[in-house]
Amino acid sequence: MTKSRDRQEDQKQPGHDPSRRKFLKGVGIVGAGAAIADQLWVEAEAEEQRPAPDDIKGRVKVVLDVNGEKRTSQVEPRTTLLNTLRNHLGPAVTGPKLVCDMGTCGACTVLLDGKPVYSCLVLAVDAENKKITTVEGLGSPDKPNAVQAAFVENDALMCGFCTPGFVTTISAYLKKNPNPTLAEVREACKGNFCRCGTYPRVFEAALAAAKASRA
């Protein structure tokens, strides 16, 4: 496995695509069983014995296109897009929430060139030269987009901590499929968790937003 990954690194990648679909596929593989976990362990041990590559130390400049504005910051290369938005940009962009920090809950969802991604799984340095849209970029309290308006109208939120993720995911999905069925809406937001229990009304809001956008 180490080899295959090395090979990947050697190849010139045809444009990095950190889309959620690909990521979920990855999780599926890791989740496939203990045998693979053992393999990863062997791999990690092997890794330790290799000479360490030169560390990238210090900070690098990143220029991010956030909600149509060029935003510049200095971050360590390991900094995620989520933490960069929240902790390093000034003023901060805190719509995307940090909930699990490991790509399992969807609360940090942002759009990269229109595609929903978990921003906790994207490095800021990889998000340069892409259009980043957060929930703030979709609408404002005075001018909400159709999904945001429908969320309020249908009470598709309680504590509201998962809400930016749901709103972002659904807004992107309705662009792709303006006339979804209930089953399709469920499928579209299966990568987002809510704890208060808003799902039924999230579905209603998504369908209402689709209807309002068609009207």
Partner: protein, 746 residues
């Protein structure tokens, strides 16, 4: 109904005695107090409101859906440091050496402090904390701290912990502690002899997590000097300043806590917690603002779980449906804590009953109050047992419950629910439907208190330009507190929702109770109503000269107008008659505006694939009473939430502990299964409008209790399998179908 009664002698202030709940040492008790008979106008009939009891959209909705609502986790202050906590990886250990030298030399690390515990009784116990300039560097620092542990024997499963040779969770103490014995065992045994059928069962309910999406934590802003500000993700604004002041060495009055918005608590967020203690100490040491929010891993291993339960029940029933006796042995599984579990037979009449209650300790973090503490556990077991008794004597489970429940409200709700789910479609033979996809239905019943207490002080201010403010330090957990606070004032003053602004979530504002036990609405709303009524009367007095000098109570506030004697002025004109500084009224709690005691009944339909064991929830119905519904929209949302969290407990969620390692194997959303969008059944939240009480009662807990039993019983009806170990996962279905004993993880 006018009755001819002799007129009582007028007395200056007639008194009446009422019973109200009071919390003494954390235990709710009913006490009798004397109040003025005429305390002021009431809410009026539930169907006569202009705003309340309607669907009001959330006032903080627009901010929350656009990312503009600032939560504690979103606070970023100049020079702020990020805190992280280092955790013990052993089930039971002592720290013999803590070497922080390498960690403290890392660039960006500003402080490292040792934890307060010498003996660590669970994996995840805090060992040390760091503050650094970025969360990434704080993580580096944790990895660079070298800890030497003396590893001690541990036990994490209840079924192991109860054995006499089990490792002791606390040295010199038994893991098993007797807590209570109630009833007469001899009588119960005698009554069993008169029963036509006996059912015995052993029930396990797992430890589930609160899993608040905003983790526990706070930002402590102390930069030296004699005061500090704290932004906390808390269920109690006023539970923060006292403890924080102690840690910071400041006067309590100099520490201000605020919580504008918070991302879920479910019972787990009271006080500053261990994370708050660390945050305060780190801030005090560095004289810099420190943000310490738990990581998701932290949240799982130490920030909250519902007490597990292990219950051995035996009941006897007569063929006419009368339950004659119950004996119960109840173990509360609270880790190093006491755990919680409502006493059996919970809400049922069961003749002669006897119960023994124990706390059984394991090397796990203490359970923490979680939405209806102790109730879903007890409800799950007794509802399973009651269902089994009904099948045993071939009586319809709905009719059987009515037979053994005294309260007529349950009867009404059971009938309503049966109609809504389509109970008549149900096959009375468990597992009797043909084919591999088997459908089944179940029902269950629950209760809760939901009364308030006298803690909230509310100010309503009306300014000369017509602006209205309502201010109280309370917090909105996502339950809609902001919205009804505003709505009560707007309705009383006859103005619109947008004409009132609420200020909450700050300890500088009027006192308020912490949000636990469904007490917020019944504690807060009477005080808001009282303040609003007083503001209306003060304003009526001021504008009386403009309206032909009516008595204040004759002035009508409606539709943005103020009128009397056939004259009408606009709200703005009326406000202009106020003094330059406006007016402010102070509202206090009134017992007569709230009540306690809610009823809830749940029905569920599921489909079980007996080839794979997969359970598909088809439909859930929950009927909930609650006196006056302040806001139907948010109340229905909260009922949905109760159903969904109960669904998680039934089929998906559960902490998995490793006996050898003594640690949790699923401390993350990748492995701990929360109910998600694909699991959602059709959900029908029903507000029981037959409840005519003109009083506010909290409903948050009531609606999380019985859905669980309804789902479990639906699985039985579908498959004929009585699975007594939560969560009911496909493996348990398949093992049950193979007629294999389901092994408990207890």
């Amino acid at each position: 109904m006018q009755q001819q009664q002799p007129q009582p002698q007028p007395s200056p202030k007639p008194k009446k005695k009422i019973r109200v709940p009071r919390v003494v040492n954390g235990v709710e008790q009913m006490v009798e107090i004397e109040v003025d008979e005429d305390t002021g106008p009431g809410w009026g009939p539930n169907d006569k409101h202009t705003l309340l009891n309607h669907k009001i959209t959330r006032v903080d909705g627009p901010k929350k859906v656009t990312g503009m609502a600032l939560y504690t986790y979103d606070m970023r202050l100049p020079g702020m440091l990020y805190g992280r906590i280092l955790r013990c990886p052993h089930g039971h250990a002592r720290v013999t050496k803590l070497d922080t030298e390498a960690a403290s030399k890392l660039p960006g690390v500003k402080a490292i402090i040792q934890g307060p515990l010498t003996e660590l009784r669970f994996a995840g116990a805090p060992v040390a904390a760091v503050a650094a300039t970025t969360p990434e560097i704080a993580g580096d620092a944790l990895r660079a701290i070298k800890v030497t542990y003396e590893v001690l024997p541990h036990v994490v499963h209840a079924t192991d912990a109860i054995r006499p040779d089990a490792p002791k969770v606390v040295a010199e103490e038994n893991n098993l502690q007797e807590k209570a014995k109630n009833g007469d065992l001899q009588k119960a045994e005698t009554a069993f002899a008169t029963a036509d059928a006996i059912v015995e069962g052993e029930y396990f309910s797992q430890r589930v997590h609160h899993a608040c999406l905003e983790t526990h934590g706070m930002v402590v802003d102390y930069r030296g000097g004699d005061s500090a500000s704290i932004y906390a993700s808390t269920q109690g604004t006023f539970t923060i300043p006292g403890d924080a002041a102690k840690e910071l060495g400041l006067e309590q009055s100099k520490v201000i806590a605020s919580v504008e918005h918070m991302g879920g608590g479910f019972g787990s967020k009271f006080g500053i917690g261990i994370e708050g203690m660390f945050a305060c100490r780190l801030s005090k040491q560095t004289k810099s603002p420190v943000k310490l929010m738990l990581t998701r891993y932290d949240e799982f291993v130490m920030a909250g779980n519902r007490s597990g339960s292990w219950q051995k029940l035996k009941a006897g029933v007569k063929n006419d449906g009368t339950i004659v006796a119950l004996t119960a042995r109840q173990y509360r599984l609270g880790g190093i804590g006491q755990g919680s579990q409502a006493g059996q037979p919970y809400i049922y009449r069961m003749g002669d009953t006897y119960r023994e209650v124990y706390a059984l300790h394991t090397n796990e973090d203490s359970s923490i109050a979680m939405r209806a503490p102790g109730h879903p556990q007890a409800s799950f077991a007794i509802e399973s047992l009651v269902d089994e008794l009904a099948y045993k004597i071939k009586m319809d489970p709905v009719a059987f419950r009515k037979k053994n429940l005294r309260d007529e409200v349950y009867h009404r709700q059971l009938d309503r629910g049966a109609k809504e789910i389509g109970w008549s479609r149900r096959n009375p033979v468990a597992g009797g439907n043909p084919g591999p996809l088997k459908r089944g239905m179940g029902c269950a019943v629950g209760t809760w208190g939901g009364g308030g207490n006298n803690q909230c002080k509310v100010d309503v201010t009306i300014l000369q330009d017509g602006a209205v403010y309502v201010a109280v330090g309370t917090q909105d957990l996502g339950t809609g507190t902001r919205t009804y606070t505003r709505a009560i004032v707007a309705e009383e003053l006859g103005i619109g929702m947008n004409d009132v602004e609420e200020h909450i979530g700050n300890s500088k504002l009027g006192a308020a109770n912490p949000s636990g036990g469904s007490t917020t609405a019944p504690s807060l709303s009477p005080s808001v109503k009282d303040a609003a009524i007083k503001a209306r009367m003060m304003m009526a007095e001021r504008v009386a000269p403009l309206l032909g000098n009516p008595k204040p109570e004759e002035v009508v506030f409606s539709g943005g107008n103020v009128s009397a004697n056939g004259r009408s002025i606009t709200w703005k004109q009326a406000a202009a008659a106020l003094p330059a500084a406006g007016i402010t009224s102070h509202g206090v709690w009134r017992a007569d505006l709230q009540a306690r005691g809610v009823h809830g009944v749940s029905f569920a339909e599921v489909e079980v694939d007996i080839e794979t064991g997969f359970i598909r929830p088809i439909k859930m119905v929950h009927i909930q009473d609650g006196g006056l519904p302040l806001n139907r929209l948010t109340m229905e949302s909260q009922i949905n939430g109760g159903m969904i969290q109960s669904l998680g407990m039934a089929f998906y969620e559960g902490r998995v502990m490793d006996a050898q390692l003594g640690m949790q194997l699923n401390p993350g959303f990748g492995d701990y299964k929360l109910p998600g969008s694909l699991e959602m059944p059709e959900m029908v939240p029903i507000i029981d409008d037959d409840d005519k009480r003109e009083a506010v009662i909290g409903i948050a807990e009531g609606c999380i209790i019985p859905p669980l039993g309804a789902l479990v019983n639906a699985v039985f009806n579908a498959t004929g399998l009585r699975i007594r170990d939560l969560p009911i996962t496909p493996d348990k279905i398949l093992m049950g179908l193979m007629n294999t004993t389901v092994i408990s993880r207890g």
